[in-house]
């Protein structure tokens, strides 16, 4: 199954120039291990695109390719029509100013408080007066519900709060594309729901494009417009979350239903169990 992504949730064809991120026939290896073997994905303007897959399938690596932190061995990764791997350092920085990224662990600057963390991109890229910086920072912190935590240090925040501060920092420069790397990892159900709602609200309210990398099927199904399921270095299924849930492909069913048995083996390759146990006794 590979439902064509040239159709959106309603089945209507998307305009050709609508792609914000486009990866075509991407090949990439790390230490001789093939991560991508002809990967094709697209993220379209104004939509929430989810990249899902079991651990180790290269979801975070895909983000590294999209943001220019790594280059593919072959194939093409384009952002707003620009080939990312061909950009100079200056052009890459200009491209990244159009993006905001939320890291797995928040990646807050540990020697700055919440306010300064959110103000950091503004201070680095603009010469705005302090009064305006303050207004912008407080507005973004208010949007994530943490205006009252402005003077706390990162060490004083819970995991969910740190993620929300990082989100406020990611949107403070009003990016066109927001990238979320495993935004739900290690969060309690309440924080998870909060982050989930924020992703949806920010995408709709700011009219931006969102890419979410995660393996939390339930949360992603609630907010994603388009989904890609990665496995074995390729896209094994794509479409709306509802379409993925209906799929009868074994790999998709195993992942979407969280089954231990399936194409993705539970056991790491090992010699025969009984033989292995008996060897220890001899």
């Amino acid at each position: 199954m590979t439902n064509s992504l040239t159709k959106d949730a309603n089945g209507s064809p998307a305009p050709a120039g609508d792609a914000v991120i486009e990866a075509r026939d991407v090949h990439y290896s790390i230490g001789g291990r093939k991560i991508f073997d002809g990967l094709d994905v697209t993220a379209r303007r104004g939509r929430i695109t989810a990249f899902m897959g079991p651990s180790g399938t290269g979801k975070t690596t895909l983000l590294r390719l999209i943001t220019g932190q790594a280059n593919p061995e072959s194939g093409s990764v384009k952002a707003w029509g620009q080939e990312v791997s061909l950009l100079s350092g200056k052009e890459l920085f200009a491209l990244r100013r159009r993006m905001g990224m939320l890291f797995q662990n928040g990646a807050l600057l540990t020697d700055e408080d919440v306010y300064e963390n959110v103000a950091f991109p503004l201070r680095a890229h603009t010469k705005l007066p302090e009064s305006l910086v303050r207004q912008l920072v407080l507005t973004k912190l208010h949007a994530v519900g943490l205006r009252g935590a402005a003077r706390l240090m990162p060490a004083e925040l819970s995991g969910g709060m740190a993620r929300r501060v990082a989100l406020a920092r990611a949107i403070v420069m009003d990016p066109e594309l927001l990238i979320y790397d495993e935004p739900f990892v290690g969060l309690d159900p309440i924080s998870m729901g909060v982050i989930c709602r924020l992703i949806k609200q920010l995408n709709d309210a700011l009219g931006i494009t969102s890419i979410v990398v995660s393996h939390d099927v339930h949360e992603l199904s609630a907010i994603a417009d388009d989904s890609f399921l990665l496995s074995g270095g390729k896209v094994v299924a794509q479409g709306t979350p509802a379409e993925l849930h209906k799929s009868d492909l074994a790999e998709v069913r195993q992942f979407m239903s969280g089954l231990a048995d399936g194409p993705v083996a539970f056991h790491y390759p090992a010699p025969d169990y009984a033989q292995d146990l008996l060897e220890g006794q001899s």
Binding site: T67, Q69, F93, A94, R96, R97, M99, M101, F103, Q104, N105, A107, L108, L109, T110, F120, P121, A124, H125, R169, M173
Partner: protein, 255 residues
């Protein structure tokens, strides 16, 4: 040459090359980093002011030992009045810059390496790059510069306190004439000796700061990797300081 020795040599050459390139990259960011002087001032405080107590205490004790041993040796030749000269020249030319650099490597150097290593392992440096902020300019250059500025100031403090320690023992305890102590010191020490100490501490400041930020920036982003990088900072800095001290001393003597 065995394969092991060959790979060691290749690894060493690669590391020296990597460090040289890193040094040039950092140097090219020094002027731009002055656009935010607050960052540099904070690093001078971190590397300098926070090392002040340990440097002053060490200087005092080294000076006191120098006073004791110097007096014991000089009195055998009846020239204990020259204790001030011995202490001043020893402190200014060798002990001040070298011991301060070793203390700097152990206190500020390890702190720099572990701080940068932890920033790397918690994705803070990557996050900066994703915000289109150059971590070499924002994180590394201010720390490098802060170390270079702090080192001569710390070495001067060490030498002054050390001289005071030698005077404390020589004059107050051993009975060396206070007038002879200071006047002989004033006559024997000229500006060239002070200049030698300043040059040495500046060179040691560059070496120790560079090694500290390089090891932190290139550490493996794991707890073990950061620990190993911190150890490498102390070992490499200490050896480099002693080697450079020999080379600089020889250079100043042949001048």
């Amino acid at each position: 040459m065995s394969a092991n020795a060959e790979s060691l040599a290749v690894g060493w050459v690669r590391k020296v090359g990597g460090m040289t390139l890193f040094f040039l990259q950092v140097c090219s960011r020094i002027v731009p980093s002055f656009t935010r002087p607050g960052l540099i001032v904070r690093q001078i405080y971190n590397a300098g002011a926070r090392s002040l107590v340990i440097v002053m205490l060490s200087g005092l004790f080294v000076g006191m030992v120098l006073g004791l041993l110097g007096f014991d040796t000089l009195q055998r030749f009846g020239s204990e009045d020259s204790l001030g000269v011995l202490a001043a020249l020893g402190m200014l030319k060798v002990l001040g810059p070298v011991l301060t650099a070793l203390l700097f490597a152990g206190r500020a150097g390890t702190s720099l390496t572990s701080e940068i290593g932890l920033m790397k392992s918690t994705d803070q440096l990557t996050a900066m790059q994703m915000m289109a902020v150059d971590p070499l300019r924002h994180v590394i250059a201010p720390r490098f510069l802060g170390g270079i500025i702090a080192m001569p100031l710390l070495a001067a403090t060490f030498s002054v306190i050390g001289l005071f320690g030698a005077q404390l023992i020589g004059v107050q305890q051993m009975g060396v004439d206070v007038g002879a102590f200071w006047s002989q010191t004033q006559n024997a020490v000229d500006l060239r000796d002070v200049y030698e100490g300043i040059v040495k501490s500046l060179v040691f400041g560059v070496a120790c700061s560079l090694i500290a930020v390089y090891e932190g920036y290139n550490s493996e982003p794991t707890p073990e990797g950061v620990g190993l990088a911190t150890t490498r900072t102390v070992v490499t800095s200490s050896v480099m300081v002693l080697l450079l001290n020999y080379l600089l001393t020889a250079a100043f003597l042949t001048k």
